[in-house]
Amino acid sequence: MKALIWAALLLGSAWSIPAPALNVFACEPEWGALTRELAGDAVTLDVATSALQDVHQIEAKPSLIAKMRRADLVVCSGAELEAGWLPQLIRQSGNSKVASGPGSFMATDQVVTLDKPSELDRAAGDVHPQGNPHVQLDPYRVLAIAKALAARLAQLDPGNAAVYTQRLADFSTRWQAAIPNWEARAAPLKGRKVVVHHASWVYLLTWLGVEQIGTLEPKPGVPPTSGHLAGLIEITKAQSALAILSAAYQDPKAGEWLAERTGVPALVLPFTVGGDDQAKDLFGLYDATLDRLLGALK
């Protein structure tokens, strides 16, 4: 206990050092990467999770609360993706700035979400009433989110507004140049069919015109049963699926199991920035994702 008090005193003295303008707390690596694109070194950035973690649930660490306490802006997916831990984390930090209002930026609030249930039925599985939260793999939505995020950064930190505006313009130019390239490369994927692990690919598949014919989880968040898997083998074979997709953080066993029985390759996609060596930033994430998918065509 004494050591804690000493440490608290030490920490108190450290607070007098002038801090950079804005402290940003990003829930997921993709929003951390986007913040870097838009703010560069103008902000301090903490990213709460890595690409190899399931962001639906994370372990409580003291450093997370400490980071949340000094945050001026929280950038997360929203749509209840972080419902299992973000509210507790914000409550525990006692930081009312980021609980709501301008200090809270939810990516899914900036765009139209897919998979929005017409009525809420808990029997339908782990569905999010505000739609599917995994929006980071649609480049058009990412662009819309980038614009909204740059505006928010400028609102909270007017002193650096010019930096954010300029960096947004730069990012938009590069991003809009990249989109047609990606679309041209992905053209052969159009109309192909895939089986997915969890319903986290809907934005990517909708963008690429790829059809999802089944999920390993019968309902989102529910582990597969033997009857469901038997049906899935049928569908995967009959419709000659291109691949079985899972994210870097998911257990590849289920996908490999299906691959073994159907001859359809199981692909592990990075899903977010940091998901593999190539996905170092948002551009790399899209390049890596398309490379993996196109690799399955050969």
Binding site: M1, A3, L4, I5, A7, A8, L10, L11, A14, Q57, E59, A60, K61, P62, S63, I65, A66, K67, R69, G84, W85, Q88, L89, R91, Q92, G94, R122, A123, G125, D126, K219, P220, G221, V222, T225
Partner: protein, 260 residues
């Protein structure tokens, strides 16, 4: 190294939650150990979780006291069952407790096959995260602990039959939700194990000290090393117990369990 998390405002509620859990679990753990039924906490925690799933079937609100009452009632029913089995088949109490554990755990899985939200709630109930505890959450736990400690004190620390299982069931139901099943197990068994061979007030004092030191050290280390707090505390508890045991052995060899 990370000194940011080493802040009383962050670690304070967690530390207090730990001390609260220790208050009832250290004396209960000594009885659990002498009865040789160390997996009873896991079994009763699972039974309490089953109670919550059952309550959801009858439409009890997920948040609020309805769930708590369902969990406590289920745990008490489990306690009554274990009292009954202890009376009739005392030689098989430990294997029966183990069987109850797997039945409750897998029964929950079967009931929840189509309800992932219930699964999340079940997980919350079993894997309480000590860092998410707030001071206001500790008040009901503190009141319950005071009542349970009063009961134990009235029975001079030796509860028998239904009294033991009942007090134990309520203590576990509350503590598992605060700090999670791993920490509950460690708080029960580790201090008691470290002080085997000692007696009375002296044993309680040493066991409480080991427990408190383990929690404080674990929280501080988890902040500095940036590791999950619950898991870290389990290890520091074990470390403190080991050192405590060595110190006890060097001071008074008579307390060694071998010469008991």
């Amino acid at each position: 190294m990370n000194w940011d998390g080493l802040d009383l405002a962050i670690l304070g509620p967690a530390c207090l939650a730990g001390l609260l859990v220790l208050a009832t679990h250290v004396p209960l753990g000594q009885q659990v150990l002498s009865r040789g039924i160390i997996f009873i906490d896991l079994a009763l925690a699972q039974v309490a979780a089953m109670g919550v799933i059952g309550a959801q079937y009858f439409g009890v609100d997920e948040q609020g006291y309805g769930v708590q009452i369902a969990a406590a009632l289920a745990a008490l029913a489990g306690a009554a069952l274990l009292t009954f089995t202890e009376r009739h088949w005392p030689d098989y109490q430990e294997p029966l407790i183990g069987t109850l554990f797997v039945l409750a755990a897998t029964g929950g899985l079967l009931l929840l096959a189509n309800n992932p939200h219930g699964g999340e709630h079940l997980k919350d109930l079993l894997v309480g995260q000590i860092l998410w505890v707030s001071y206001s959450q500790l008040i009901p736990g503190a009141l319950l602990s005071a009542v349970l400690l009063g009961l134990m004190w009235r029975h001079h620390g030796r509860l028998s039959g239904l009294w033991f299982y009942g007090v134990f069931a309520l203590a576990i139901t509350a503590s598992v939700q605060l700090v999670g099943v791993y920490l509950v197990f460690a708080s029960l068994i580790v201090p008691a194990l470290a002080t085997v061979g000692m007696h009375g007030r002296r044993r309680l004092l040493v066991a409480y000290s080991i427990g408190a030191l383990g929690y404080a050290l674990g929280l501080a280390l988890s902040a500095v090393l940036d590791l999950p707090s619950g898991a870290m505390i389990v290890w520091t508890l074990a470390g403190c117990a080991l050192i405590g045991r060595l110190v006890i052995a060097s001071i008074s060899p008579a307390a060694s369990p071998i010469e008991r």
